[in-house]
C-alpha cells in the first residue's frame, strides 16, 4: 500500500536563497505574520522571532547564497567559490592521521558514548590547559578551561553570559559576522572600532576610548586576524590590554587561527597580558587541524586576579554550559591525544601551501590595477583587496562588482561590505592552487572588460582578445 506523501513545494528553497539579500546592506526581514488561520477558523498563536531575523541578516551565508544565485549555466565555467572558507574539503588540506587515529581509538573503546559534564570532561580540559600553557607565563589550570561545540558556540555562550540590559560590546571592523549575529541575538548593543588599513590593521585604540562607556563590557580582538591576515605584535597587544584595563572592560581574544601562520611575525597569545586585564581566550582545533566539522573548541579564562569569579561572569558561564548543547564526548576524549601529538610538520605543510597561494595571488594581482592588495596576509586563509573603482566603468561598489563577477565569470568573492569594509573584497586562499590560477585569470578578464575606456584605441581591442582566449572549464 503506497504511503501518502506530504509534498513540500520548492518555493521555500527559493525564498531562503533570497531571504538575506545584501543589496542594500543588511536590510531587515519583512514583517512576519504572527497568526494565521486554518479552514476551521483556528487562529494559530505561534510565529517567528524578530531577533532571529535581525541576527541572521548579518551572517555571511545570505551573501554567499545571493552570489551563487547570480552564477549561471550559460557561462560555461565551473563555479569557483572563493568567498567563503572551508579548506577541509580539499585533499591538500586533509587533517593529520594522528587526529583521525585518536578519534577512531576512542570510538572503538566504547568508553566515551556517555554524556559529559557541562564544562567538558577533565582530561580534555587538562589537555587544553597544557597546550595553551606552553606560551603563557600565568599557567592555566583545567578549571580555567571550558569546552564548547566549536569556537562559534563559544561566542554564543560567552555573549549569553555577558548579556545584561543596556550592555554594549566593542567589535572590530572589518570583523567576523558571527560576532555581530550572536551579539544581536543576545541583545548586546554593538559598537564598532576600526582596524586601520594604513597601519597594518592595527586596532584604533583612540577609537575604542571614544566609543566605550560605563555599559561597555568587553572588546573583541581576533588574532591572528580574520579577515585581514595580520598577526599583532607584542607591544600592540600590550597597549590593547592597558586600554581595556583603563576602561574597566575584559578582552575577548579569538585565537582560533593560532596554528595558521605563514609570515614572519610570531604569534603572541593575549593571555600573556592577563596580569594587566582579564582575558578570555576563544580557540579550537577547527582551523589548525582543518576539522571545522568536528565541532570542538574552548574558552580559556586568563585571570590571575580572579576577576571573572568576583564579578560572577565565571558563574554565568558555568551555568550556561549546564543548559547548552555540548561537544560530542568522543572528540572530547580524543582531544588529549590530538593536542599532544600536534605535529609542527603538519602545520608547516599546510601553512606552506597557504603562503604559496598568497604569493600566487599577489603576483597575478600585479597585472590587475583595479584590484589591489595593500598588505600581504601572514596568517589565516583570506586575502583582502581594495577595489579601485575609479579605474572601472559602471561598477558602483563592491557588491555590484561581486555580483557582476559572479554573473559573468561564475567567480564568487566576498564583498567587503559583508565584513564592514565597503569597496574591499575578500578572496579565500584556503583552496587548491589551480583554482586560484583559474580565478585570477577570470578576474583579469573581467577587470579588463570593465576597465574605464582611455583615449587609446588599441587597449580595449587587446582587452577583448585576452577575454576571448580566457576559457576556464
Amino acid at each position: 500500500r503506497a504511503k501518502k506523501t506530504y509534498k513540500r513545494d520548492k518555493k521555500m528553497s527559493e525564498e531562503q536563497a533570497h531571504a538575506n539579500l545584501v543589496v542594500p546592506a543588511f536590510r531587515t526581514e519583512k514583517e512576519l505574520k504572527t497568526q494565521t488561520q486554518n479552514g476551521h477558523g483556528t487562529v494559530w498563536r505561534f510565529g517567528g522571532t524578530d531577533k532571529a531575523a535581525k541576527a541572521s541578516t548579518v551572517t555571511l551565508r545570505g551573501v554567499i547564497y545571493m552570489l551563487f544565485d547570480n552564477c549561471s549555466k550559460d557561462v560555461k565555467k565551473t563555479v569557483l567559490p572563493l568567498g567563503h572558507g572551508d579548506p577541509s574539503v580539499y585533499p591538500c588540506f586533509r587533517t593529520c592521521i594522528e587526529a583521525e587515529d585518536a578519534v577512531v581509538d576512542v570510538l572503538r573503546s566504547g568508553k566515551c558514548n556517555s554524556y559529559g559534564p557541562g564544562a567538558g570532561i577533565l582530561p580534555a580540559r587538562r589537555a587544553v590547559a597544557d597546550y595553551l600553557n606552553k606560551d603563557l607565563p600565568n599557567k592555566l589550570t583545567p578549571d580555567d578551561i571550558f569546552l564548547t561545540a566549536g569556537c562559534n558556540q563559544g561566542i554564543e555562550i560567552l555573549f549569553e553570559s555577558l548579556a545584561r540590559p543596556n550592555a554594549n560590546i566593542l567589535l572590530p571592523r572589518p570583523g567576523f559576522p558571527h560576532y555581530d549575529a550572536r551579539a544581536l541575538y543576545s541583545g548586546l548593543e554593538i559598537r564598532k572600532f576600526d582596524l586601520l588599513p594604513n597601519k597594518e590593521w592595527e586596532i584604533d585604540l583612540e577609537g575604542i576610548e571614544a566609543i566605550a562607556d560605563e555599559n561597555t563590557v568587553a572588546l573583541v580582538v581576533i588574532n591572528p586576524n580574520n579577515p585581514c591576515g595580520n598577526v599583532y605584535s607584542h607591544d600592540h597587544l600590550q597597549k590593547v590590554a592597558e586600554t581595556a584595563r583603563k576602561l574597566g572592560i575584559m578582552v575577548i581574544t579569538d585565537e582560533v587561527y593560532d596554528q595558521t601562520i605563514f609570515g614572519d611575525n610570531p604569534f603572541v597569545p593575549m593571555g600573556k597580558f592577563a596580569s594587566i586585564v582579564p582575558v578570555l581566550t576563544l580557540g579550537g582545533i577547527s582551523k589548525g587541524w582543518v576539522v571545522p566539522g568536528w565541532k570542538i573548541g574552548w574558552m580559556a579564562l586568563n585571570d590571575p586576579e580572579g576577576v571573572f569569579e568576583s564579578t560572577k561572569v565565571l558563574q554565568s558561564i558555568k551555568q550556561n554550559l549546564d543548559i547548552t548543547p555540548d561537544p560530542s564526548t568522543i572528540i572530547q576524549a580524543a582531544l588529549p591525544k590530538i593536542l599532544e601529538k600536534a605535529d609542527k610538520k603538519f602545520f608547516a605543510k599546510k601553512n606552506e601551501i597557504l603562503k604559496h597561494n598568497v604569493d600566487l595571488v599577489c603576483d597575478r594581482l600585479k597585472d590587475i590595477p583595479s584590484v589591489v592588495c595593500p598588505k600581504k596576509p601572514e596568517s589565516c586563509t583570506y586575502l583582502l583587496t581594495k577595489l579601485e573603482l575609479s579605474l572601472l566603468e559602471n561598477i558602483k561598489d563592491d557588491i555590484d562588482f561581486c555580483v557582476k563577477l559572479a554573473r559573468e565569470e561564475n567567480l564568487v568573492f566576498l564583498p567587503g561590505e559583508a565584513l564592514g569594509l565597503k569597496n574591499w573584497m575578500r578572496i579565500t586562499i584556503g583552496v587548491e592552487a589551480h583554482m586560484l590560477e583559474d580565478a585570477l585569470e577570470r578576474l583579469k578578464g573581467f577587470c579588463t572588460r570593465h576597465a574605464k575606456k582611455t583615449d587609446t584605441e588599441t587597449e580595449p581591442l587587446q582587452a577583448l582578445k585576452l577575454s576571448d582566449n580566457n576559457v576556464g572549464i
Binding site: T5, M12, Q35, N113, N152, E160, M250, D322, D326
Partner: protein, 445 residues
C-alpha cells in the same frame, strides 16, 4: 558590575542564567554528589541520571561504531555542514563539478542525504512518508530544545509544560523569558494529560504544548486515543505540539508506541528526537527536529523561517557522525533493538517488584517505557525526613545511592528512579533503598 581588588570592572553576571539553571537535573545530581560519604567503601549506585551507556548490557551496536570510524577515515566529513534543512535549489546542481569539492553545496548535499535517512527512519511505522526537507539536524535533542524554545519565545508568549517535566525545557524557557504554565500528568490516571487543565491554562499568547512520549520521568506510554485527544485540544487552542520522542519505540509494556506524527493533520507537530537513547550514545550528539505541517501553518506564521535562521547561527552535529547516519539508521538490525528492549523490560519489572517491598514509597503506575519511574514518598512511614531533597541527600550519604528528588522534575516529595542500569546494580541499589527505609521508618510503640 563587580569590584575586584579595589578596581571596578564593567562586566558581570547574567542573572537570567542563574535562574534558568538552578532547577536543572545536573544541579541536583551535583548537590547529591556533594553529600556522598567518601569513607563508604561501597561503589556509588547511580539511579538518578538517564545515561546507561557505560553499562555493558546497554552497549551500543558495534556496527554503529564502525560506521562512524569509516566516515571519519574517509576524510569526506571534516567540513562545516549546513543543517537547517534548506533544500539545495535544483538550479545549483549543474554548477558543481566533482573536480572542485565545494563547501556550501557539499554541506547541503550531505544534509539532504541525512535528512532523507532520518525521514525514512521516522516514517517506518508511520502511515505516511515524512518529507526530508522537513528534517532539521541538531547536535542532540538538547540542541533542538535550545533552538526551538528560543525561537518560540516572542515577548509575552507562554508555553504549556507538563508536571512532572523534563527540566531542560524549563531552563531554556526561563532563559528565553518564555512564560511557563504547567499542566498536570495525572498519577491516578496512568499519568495521562489533564486536558481540562490545559484548556484552562491556555490563552491567546500560548504558543505550544510539550508532550514527552514515552514519558520521562513517569515511564508511561501514551495511548493512541489519548494522543488524538491531545492533538484535538491543541488544535482547538491554536497551539502547536512539541512531541519529544527521544525515547521513540522504547516501549516494552503492553501499550505500543504511537508517534504524535500520526496526528499532524489535526495539529502542527514539532517532532524532536535523537539517536542518543535507542543506540545508547548520548555522547555522540546527533538529533533532529522535524516540522510536520501539512497545512503549512508553521511555515506561514514565519516560525519555520525563524527556526532556520537560528539554526544557521548555532552549532551543528559533528560532520563525520552525520556521515555515518545513513548506515546507523538504515542498517542496525532489529536484534539489537529487541535485545535492548528486553533488557529494559527486565529492569523495569525488577524495579517495580522490588519497590513493592519498600514501605515508604509507592509507585502508582508500572513503568512501560523510557528509563524512569516516579514514586511517591509516604512521609507518614518515615521518622525524621521531611521532604524529597532531605530524603535523597541522606540516601546519598548513608547508602551511596543516588536517586533524583522529585522537585528536580517538578513534583516535590516524589522520587525519580532510573532503572536503566546493569541488573545486579539495580537490585543492589533497591536493597540499599530498602535498608534506608527500614532505618528511617517510624518506630511503633
Amino acid at each position: 558590575m563587580g569590584e575586584s581588588g579595589g578596581k571596578r570592572w564593567n562586566f558581570g553576571a547574567n542573572e537570567v542564567v542563574e535562574q534558568s539553571c538552578s532547577q536543572n537535573v545536573r544541579y541536583f545530581l551535583n548537590l547529591l554528589a556533594d553529600n556522598l560519604d567518601g569513607n563508604d567503601g561501597r561503589a556509588v549506585i547511580p539511579l538518578g541520571h538517564g545515561d546507561p551507556s557505560p553499562f555493558p548490557s546497554f552497549r551500543t551496536d558495534p556496527a554503529a561504531v564502525e560506521a562512524v570510524c569509516h566516515a571519519l577515515r574517509s576524510a569526506q566529513f571534516n567540513h562545516y555542514s549546513t543543517t537547517s534543512g534548506l533544500p539545495l535549489a535544483r538550479k545549483f546542481m549543474f554548477l558543481f563539478n566533482a573536480a572542485y569539492a565545494l563547501l556550501v553545496p557539499k554541506g547541503n548535499t550531505l544534509n539532504r542525504l541525512i535528512g532523507l535517512a532520518v525521514a525514512e527512519y521516522l516514517s517506518r511505522d508511520l502511515s505516511y512518508q515524512i518529507c526530508p526537507n522537513d528534517v532539521h539536524l541538531t547536535a542532540g535533542c538538547h540542541h533542538a530544545i535550545d533552538v526551538l524554545i528560543s525561537t518560540l519565545a516572542v515577548p509575552g508568549a507562554n508555553i504549556l509544560l507538563p508536571r512532572p517535566t523534563y527540566p531542560m525545557y524549563d531552563s531554556r524557557a526561563t532563559f528565553s523569558k518564555l512564560e511557563i504554565r504547567r499542566y498536570d500528568l495525572l498519577p491516578d490516571n496512568g499519568w495521562e494529560v489533564d486536558l481540562d487543565a490545559v484548556e484552562a491554562l491556555a490563552d491567546d499568547k500560548t504558543v505550544a504544548l510539550l508532550l514527552i512520549n514515552p514519558c520521562n520521568p513517569c515511564g508511561n506510554v501514551f495511548s493512541r486515543q489519548h494522543l488524538q485527544k491531545i492533538a484535538e485540544t491543541a488544535s482547538k487552542l491554536g497551539v502547536l505540539v512539541i512531541a519529544d520522542e527521544v525515547y521513540m519505540k522504547m516501549a516494552f509494556g503492553e501499550k505500543p508506541f504511537v508517534s504524535m506524527a500520526e496526528f499532524a493533520e489535526i495539529v502542527p507537530v514539532m517532532l524532536l528526537g535523537a539517536i542518543s537513547k535507542r543506540w545508547s550514545v548520548p555522547g555522540w550528539r546527533f538529533g533532529w527536529m522535524v516540522t510536520l505541517d501539512p497545512h503549512s501553518f508553521m511555515k506561514d506564521s514565519g516560525l519555520v523561517h525563524s527556526l532556520a535562521n537560528v539554526l544557521n547561527m548555532s552549532t551543528d552535529p559533528t560532520t563525520f557522525i552525520q556521515g555515518a547516519i545513513p548506515d546507523i539508521l538504515g542498517k542496525t538490525k532489529e536484534d539489537f533493538f529487541s535485545s535492548k528492549l528486553e533488557t529494559l523490560r527486565e529492569c523495569a519489572e525488577t524495579c517495580y517488584e522490588e519497590m513493592k517491598k519498600i514501605p515508604c514509597i509507592t509507585c502508582p503506575y508500572k513503568p512501560e517505557g523510557s528509563m524512569f519511574t516516579m514514586v511517591k514518598i509516604e512521609f507518614g512511614h518515615l521518622e525524621d525526613i521531611k521532604d524529597d531533597l532531605e530524603f535523597c541527600c541522606k540516601l546519598a550519604k548513608e547508602e551511596s545511592l543516588i536517586i533524583l528528588p522529585g522537585r528536580a522534575v517538578g513534583l516535590r516529595n516524589w522520587l525519580r528512579i532510573t532503572f536503566a542500569v546493569e541488573l545486579e546494580l539495580l537490585v543492589d541499589g533497591l536493597s540499599r533503598l530498602n535498608n534506608f527505609a527500614q532505618r528511617h521508618s517510624k518506630k511503633h510503640p
